[in-house]
Amino acid sequence: MTALKRLPGVLGTLVVISLLTFAVFYLLPADPAQLSCGRPCTPDRLAQASAFMGYDKPWFQQYLDFLGGIVTGRHFGAGRAAVDCAAPCFGWSFRLNAPVTRLLLDRAPVTFSIAGGAALLWLVIGVGAGVLAAVRRGTAIDRSAMLLSTVGVSAPSYLVGLLGILLFGFTLDMVPVGGYIPLAESPVDWAWHLILPWTVLALLNAAVYARLTRGQMIEVLGEDYIRTARAKGLRERRVIGRHGLRNVLIPVVTVFGLDLGTLLGGAVITERVFSMQGLGALLIDAVGTVDLPVIVGVTLFSALLVIVANVLVDLVYSVLDPRVGKETTSR
């Protein structure tokens, strides 16, 4: 299994990333214990708080404790107030009083809801527009679709998002201006509150897919087997749908997989604009309060997303194109 063969590499990558994150944030001038010291803060109390959280140790020792915690779990403090972080323990946020693993699980649905809905929309719009432009290439439809997509690529998401909030949220009072409703609570409200971020993100991202699809489609339509299919008298719709689209989807899936892997980077800005408390917001918050365990946790999680996305892309390849053999993994 390719996934299994990759495991050592994946683990190595994660170790390097966590080490890097640890080192950088250890260098910050801010002392995380200071925040937990209370007021008035005496040096004795500061030392106690620091020792309890384990921040008094040298950074590599803290890092080793962190790695150990993943395997064996961790304990902080003693007696009844002891914090018990069961294995696999990815750290404990003393600021939020919760294990990092639970924080990630709590926040992930928000980020995935935003990204998932938007991704579906942009995939449909992007691929649709791209195919249409390719089939009708050189016409006004093609030119305007491509121009629109260039405009879409050029507009910063926060600017469009904020204008959307102002126009549709406040001036026209049509849609809610943020806030997340869990899917389980009310699927209708969930979707209704996400409609603005979905639309904004989809419109901006669809542009990339439209261009990609168009370029690929034009290339594919020039290939021999398409000509053969046409020569055989197959209907155009069938030629495009059956033979064209299938080959176009391969690069689209690649880009899509990578985009999903990187959704966390974009989430930082999106969630800020739409006042949603997902992983991006959690991360920014954690950076602002030097909540090291959370920072490391989210960073590792995002790296993991990329790796998973890559594996998924490989899997989809083999479905889309049976000819694809083992060498795709090294692509």
Partner: protein, 554 residues
Amino acid sequence: MRRTRGFTAVALSAMLLMAGCGANAADDSDDAGGAGKGGKLTVLSASTDINFDPAKSQNLAITTLGLVLRRLTTWDIQPGKTAQVVPDLATDTGTASDDGKTWTFTLKDGLKYADGTAITTADIKYGVERSFAAELSGGLGYHKGLLIGGDTYQGPYTGGDLASIETPDDKTIVFKLKAAYGDWPWIASMPAFTPVPKAKDDPKAYSQNPVASGPYQVSSYQQGTAVTLTRNPNWDAATDSVRTGGPDEVVFQLGQDATVAAQRLIADSGDDRDAFGAGFVPPAQLAQIEQNASAKQRLVTSDAGALSYLALNTRRGALKDVKVRQAIQYAVDKSAYQVATGGAAGGDLATTLITPGIPGRAEYDLYPAGESGDVAKAKQLLAEAGQTALSLTLLSENDQQSLAEAQAIQQGLQRAGITVTIKPADETTVTDTLTGDKPDFDIAVSSWQPDFPSANGNIQPLFATSEIGGGGYNISRYSNAEVDRLIEQALATTDPAAAQALWAQADKRILQDAPVVPLKYNKNSFLHGSNVQNFFVAAFPAYPNYLKVTLKNR
């Protein structure tokens, strides 16, 4: 530090705070006694977390925690009236022994938790004890240095119980202090003086699910998103003089961007009519509200209170020279600073350290330079000090508002030939650098609101030598033996008038050394929806009193 409230306990026998809060909206007058029960109140908050653990909280007595948790004493904050300490769970604000070292409180009858069990003094003792545990540090801990044995006590989880708190019976609690302390009743209003039943103490979960004693209990806690409070069936209004318990439900929407929250309240549609903002209205929205009659009616501005100032690190380079610091007093453009904070609505220009409304304040201006400063005078002083190309680093938080203020300072000093480099950093880093032991900055804009309306609260935490570094707020690193003596003398003076005179003397003496430039006495503005009533901001503390807010019956 903008949001930080300093507090220093001091013997202060009279509360002479100037009353008056004329800016409070007229719609408060339509409150008819007990009207306004029911409804769902929404609070829009920028923070992403509410910590309900009384040991870890620094909440004011009149905000979020006060809705759920009662303490021994609490604050009575009403529009146009002086802040007062009043009994909450206790029958009075405490009885002191003759030497002032022993304080005794008795609980009211019939007090119950949300689950119906009785509140006992043993629970209050336990609540105070657990605040000593390192596991639960982070709250307001003024009592820790005052109780006998408090310096070494490690909390109930590892250190047994604290002998200086006695509970002879379920209704009585006795505190034994190291020294006489007249303001212990104020200390007993701190979050740590909330009852915590030992059997229900789960330190890991308590911050999200505390045992409720106030009108509300936490019914749902969605991490980072929302907190919902519903009625506590066992809260008895007859035992509570400060909480109205109006709405049936209170929802905190967390992580709300200040601008978006203000826009929602200006728009005043749907559920937002039943909402108010927990944060200050940003200057841009103040300007917007100016042109919106409906929103203008719903804007509530406090009187000028907390001091904003420019701290000069007196231990750095050229700033060691008092002439240079005095030159900066003249160079600063206070008027530009005021506009950057919303103009007159943002506050009044400051010249003193003791803030308006504090008893004993003497108005003076040591460096008369007009609203925009006196550049010529500043240049002259710099020349006298031999400084021709002074270059300073201004440490600022990296949010829009702080950067706007930093730039107003920067351009002012620039006029006198002082080059200012702004170094933006996140809030934690800034606070840590300013109050910690590695003060790598030259100047910084800061503000200070004491939790306690006294001149002492204005002076001691910011200028006493003991408050330098280690988390203390003497960020100018100002140290003057003469001033330290004055502070000690004032602290020990029991006659209010005599103490006030000493504080006023210290005020002027400190500014002669120019460790800070007083910029502005802040006004805080808050906005609420059209269906919200009894929403007011008193002079102190300059935050809305959540406990009294009700909704109009629709």
